[in-house]
Amino acid sequence: MADTPSTPPKIKAAKKMRDLMTTYYLEALSAAQNHRQVAWITSGGPVEPLVAMDIIPVYPENHGAMIGSAKMGEDLCAKAEDMGYSGDLCAYARADIACAVVRGGPIGGLPKPDMLICCNNICGTVLKWYEIQARYFQVPLFILDTPVCHTGYTPEIEAYVKAQVHAYIAFLEQVTGKKMDPAKMNAVGRLSYEGQRLWQQVLNTTAHKPSPMSAFDAFFFLALIVTLRGTQIAVDFYKELIAELEQRIHDGIGVVPGETYRLLWDNLPVWHRLKWLSDRFSAHQACLVADTYTSAWCGALKYMDENNFLDSMAQAYTRIYLNIGVDEMAEEVLKMIRFYDVNGLVMHSNRSCKPYSFGQMDIMRIVREKTGIPVLMIEADMVDPRSFSQSQAETRIDAFMEIIKQKRARP
């Protein structure tokens, strides 16, 4: 092994982000005392109207990630299975359904929702999941139906989603008994756009060699663009983070000591094994520089008009990564392979997430044909550790890294 330089300094902004997230969750948990309303919303859902109407958005999926990281997924998932939910269902949904009943998890459960906002641009699971929670909490459910764009975005889809954007606002006005302030909506829209643009910039820093942060850091910093999108807090935070990352680039600080190999990650993180995976790859001087997951929260920027947010929202929220055809997803992967100049692709075949995982094998073939880089597929689940065999993953990662090294060694 090459000589291993010392561990690089931690990213300082991490502490700040933890504080911001704590404040956010405290605010959400005490919403009722402060006479504020809470909406549960899917991670891909349009949060901006909620922010504009002073409703606190809460993300069961973000909470699911916390449950996974805290290794509390197995218990909660098993509890859902006792309630009759099949162990083959998405673990975010299982953990949340159980958590609502037992008030478990790292923060003792989420605040009770006053309304539910379900946007199905990520999967069909969220529809079923939010139906269950709407019955359980007996609160109104708004469904924003974003037809999947297998081969493109049609005028029919545009008209349909636009009509629903209006219905969404009408729904919020009805539940809150307040009118939406268009000026405030515009301001939130601009902040959202700005936040996403900055988030893209954060992700772009890893194109630098050595990479100042890794996909594992991105998984962590992602929480803010999900939960606080549309606020000044997110904008300010990402500006600071970018400054810090640029400083690291300037100082030649890479996140993986002696970065030699660069990899792209596909699908959700394996929350309960982040540290282990990160160490495993680092031991091979490999840095996971980017991933297809975190860029989902800025990938639709191209369809967004910051000065006319509400109008462009329909398209931007419909054409996100998980809501397009597998061939278009493959194109996105190829672009990332080029942009980040990676030596290999690691695919997480995620038992929880069918829309993300089915089609991966075709993407794998396309990537192999078009780029010749090695591709690894690891079987796991983002939250439920029962579908993960560490020893098997270890063997496969080691073998995969061997191939990458040999490829590199060849002239």
């Binding site: 309630m83 009759g84 939910y85 099949s86 083959d88 269902l89 998405c90 949904a93 199905n120 999967c123 069909g124 699971t125 529809l127 079923k128 999941w129 139906e131 269950i132 709407a134 019955r135 459910l141 469904i143 139906d145 037809p147 999947v148 764009c149 297998h150 081969t151 049609t154 029919e156 889809i157 008209a159 349909y160 009509a163 629903q164 219905a167 055809g325 597998v326 061939d327 075949s349 038992r351 069918k354 829309p355 995982s357 089915f358 089609g359 991966q360 094998m361 075709d362 073939r365």
Partner: protein
């Protein structure tokens, strides 16, 4: 009954049925789900054929779909890749669940047939905007067919096809109702074959034969052996053995909430409306699949009213492993049945395979409990 035989034979082998249809000059368009507008395909001069997994082992589909995908989706893809569907001229994929959604992509990317279409239906079916959208999606599909086949589908063509399919539905509803009121008249596996066969065979042939079956039923002696009346609920049921096992245990399937059952033939397309509006309206009003939404209690309400209507003693859930939409609804549906004192049991089938020993014992126990 000899009229039922062709229905049993429709898929055995499928290629023979397909060959006969092709001789009539019709192109064959396959579809994997009960939300496919067969009337439009038929009005375009093509033959709509429902695709089921033939249940052959998964070999080539392994290269495209992981093992945690339902057997319907994996099986259909396998059949296609293995060349067992080479008689198809095209396929259409109505959007329903996540697995179907990705199957459509994989199918298109590895496409082997001349015609391909996605039908991205709305998921919510009870809002004004979804009504307009649904109709526009059907209009687009019609245009796609017209372009691909270089034809034009007139309102009259469509009205004629709607009338034909409505006759099939009417016959099936009549037969089903008769059979439900007099279980034992024909076998459950026969009823199942009539429905499945009608999704596969030439529709003019189907309508004639169904009329004959309906006529013969009226003259058959009505059995009066008491049976335990069971309702089936789930996605698809392509397992004739299930009916035999239920019957052997002293039960009879008197109603169902299945896409290979009443969900498919219940509700006629209104014949007094503009055809596309009428088709859209049927989709909005028919019994829904769990991948669609018309309200928080629609499915439970329907299931309970079905149990009441058929005077069923219990509900047997037939679930396919890895089928998310149905698995999500199951605990709630069971809870609603429990609250009404209606007994139920769930069978989870893996790979669509029928585990005779294991299932028989459980079904016998269940039926005896009723």
């Amino acid at each position: 009954m000899k009229e039922i035989k062709p229905f049993h034979e429709a898929a055995n082998p499928l290629s023979d049925t397909a060959a006969r249809i092709r001789q009539t000059g019709r192109k064959i368009i396959g579809y994997p789900c009960s939300y496919a507008p067969e009337e439009l395909i038929h009005a375009a001069g093509c033959h709509p054929m429902r695709l089921f997994s033939s249940g052959h082992g998964i070999v080539q589909a392994e290269n495209h779909l992981q093992s945690y995908c339902c057997s319907v989706v994996r099986g259909i893809l396998e059949d296609s890749l293995a060349g067992r569907l080479d008689f198809l001229d095209g396929t259409v994929f109505p959007h329903t669940c996540d697995s179907m959604q990705r199957l459509s992509d994989i199918w298109r990317m590895n496409g082997a047939y001349a015609f391909f279409a996605d039908l991205v239906l709305p998921v919510t079916l009870n809002t004004p905007s979804s009504a307009a959208y649904l109709e526009s999606v059907l209009a687009r599909f019609k245009a796609d067919l017209e372009t691909a086949l270089e034809i034009s589908i007139t309102d009259a063509d469509l009205a004629a096809s709607i009338a034909l399919f409505n006759r099939i539905r009417t016959h099936l509803s009549f037969i089903h109702d008769f059979y439900s009121r007099h279980p034992g008249l024909i076998r459950g596996s026969d009823m199942n074959a009539l429905i499945k066969g009608a999704m596969i065979m030439d529709r003019d042939e189907a309508v004639t034969l169904l009329a004959d079956v309906a006529a013969s039923l009226r003259h058959m002696p009505v059995p009066d052996t008491p049976v335990k009346r069971v309702v089936l609920a789930g996605s698809v049921c392509d397992t004739p053995d299930l009916f035999d096992t239920v019957e052997a245990a002293g039960g009879a399937v008197v109603g169902d909430d299945l896409c290979t059952g009443q969900r498919w033939f219940d509700r006629l397309v209104p014949e007094d409306q503009p055809p596309l509006t009428a088709l859209a309206n049927r989709y909005r009003e028919r019994v829904i699949c769990p991948s669609k939404h018309t309200g928080l209690t629609t499915r439970a309400d329907h299931l309970i009213s079905l149990v009441n209507h058929t005077r069923a003693h219990g509900v047997l859930f037939v679930m396919l492993k890895f089928c998310d939409p149905h698995a999500f609804d199951y605990p709630y549906l069971k809870e609603c049945l429990d609250a009404k004192g209606i007994k139920s049991m769930a069978l989870e089938m893996d790979d669509g395979h029928w585990n005779q020993g294991q299932f028989s014992t459980r079904i016998e126990t269940f039926i005896h409990m009723l």
